[in-house]
């Protein structure tokens, strides 16, 4: 676990947070993606909880919808937010976790979107020139993700696969 003296902040689905040291951002993901970006020189980082790869029709407005729900919008949104808070584009790195298929026995596409989420995130990161330096993607298990915004250290906890540090 991260140091106790750090401030822990939980984000939910389709939420984004950028913070400096000493903040640990946490979320829980199944098929969703916890995408983290950080600038290790200026010690600022952020996380976005991505839900779906993309929206079929962005002109359609839904009451509770938000663009950062979608990978193709969330990746540039997090990058812009970091830069606006003082991060330098050339130093920014990315890490990601999630994208699981929680119901492998069930083939309905509604329950198998994790892989698509991960693919779109990787594609957008490549387009934006942000190096993906670590990932913990796929499988059939949920993940509790903790991201230290200052250091860029990501910890991933699971019930069945233990804990790992990225």
């Amino acid at each position: 676990m991260c140091e106790n003296k750090k401030k822990m902040v939980r984000i939910g689905m389709a939420e984004m947070l950028v913070a400096g040291n000493p903040t640990v951002i946490t979320t829980t993901v199944g098929s969703c993606i916890a995408l983290c970006m950080y600038d290790p020189i200026n010690r600022i980082g952020g996380m976005v909880h991505i839900v779906l790869p993309r929206k079929a029709d962005y002109s359609r407005k839904e009451k509770f919808d938000t663009l950062i729900r979608y990978a193709d919008k969330a990746v540039p949104a997090l990058l812009s937010k970091l830069i606006s808070r003082g991060a330098k584009k050339e130093f920014i790195r990315a890490k990601m976790a999630g994208g699981a298929n929680m119901f492998p026995m069930f083939t309905h596409p509604i329950l198998n979107i994790g892989r698509n989420n991960a693919e779109v995130v990787k594609k957008k990161l490549a387009e934006l020139g942000v190096p993906l330096v670590a990932e913990d993607i796929g499988g059939n298990h949920g993940r509790i993700v903790e991201f230290d915004a200052g250091s860029g250290i990501m910890r991933v906890n699971t019930i069945s696969k233990g804990e790992k540090e990225l």
């Binding site: 689905m13 993901v29 199944g30 009451k63 509770f64 699981a100 929680m102 329950l111």
Partner: protein
């Protein structure tokens, strides 16, 4: 988070829908309790201490399970109408239920892993099947459901798979906090129902007739 009685947009519609939900809950609980009692040879009662109607994204907050290891059983409808339904337990509560099932349905002290898997699915089949049957009876439509599937994992991680898609398909989720009671023993869980708009409108339409 929105609370009880805030299902629809018009206050009168809210009231009708809460009445319908209580009725469906009552019928579904009655059927499920009877089936469980038959299976276990023990009197089981099912009550709903709290019912909430919330945005799908607020379900984790209502249940408060978040990072808890949980057992979630899922059924959905096969065609025409959309209704996804979950039965969720904190794993410790699920273990209590499995312990009762081991003793009274199988005459064993405890179940092996394979039997646990079957028992969880059977529990989901009985409880969720009774609920879907109650909905089906209410709207007078034949609603065929899938077999149950279950997963044991971090609660919020399981939920996000459903919420990822359902947030846009279902405007509301109905959360029945559920208490299974056998003699003095109580086991707590939750039934969560995501109606699509078409089925929700049908429920309101039939409910208005039913209330007249």
């Amino acid at each position: 988070m929105r609370g009880e009685g805030e299902f629809g947009r018009d206050p009168r519609e809210n009231s009708i829908e809460m009445e319908i939900l209580r009725e469906i809950g009552s019928i579904g609980a009655g059927h499920a309790a009877t089936a469980l009692s038959d299976l276990l040879g023990q009197k089981i009662s099912i009550t709903f201490p709290e019912i909430y109607v919330v945005r799908p994204e607020d379900v984790p907050e209502v249940l408060g399970l978040h990072e808890m290891p949980s057992v979630v059983i899922y059924k959905t409808l096969q065609k025409n109408h959309g209704c996804n339904i979950l039965l969720a337990f904190d794993r410790r509560e699920a273990d209590k239920m499995l312990s009762i099932m081991a003793k009274h349905a199988f005459g064993l002290d405890e179940l092996d892993e394979e039997m646990k898997e079957s028992a969880i699915d059977e529990l989901g089949n009985i409880v969720l099947g009774a609920f879907l049957s109650a909905i089906s009876d209410f709207v007078e439509l034949e609603l065929l459901s899938t077999p149950p599937f279950h997963v044991v994992d971090i609660f919020d991680a399981v939920l996000d798979v459903f919420l990822a898609n359902l947030c846009l398909q279902s405007k509301e989720a109905v959360v029945f906090k559920t208490c299974f009671k056998r003699e003095e023993e109580k086991i707590y869980g939750a039934i969560v129902v995501f109606f699509d708009e078409k089925l929700r409108e049908e429920l309101v339409k039939r409910g208005k007739v039913w209330l007249e």
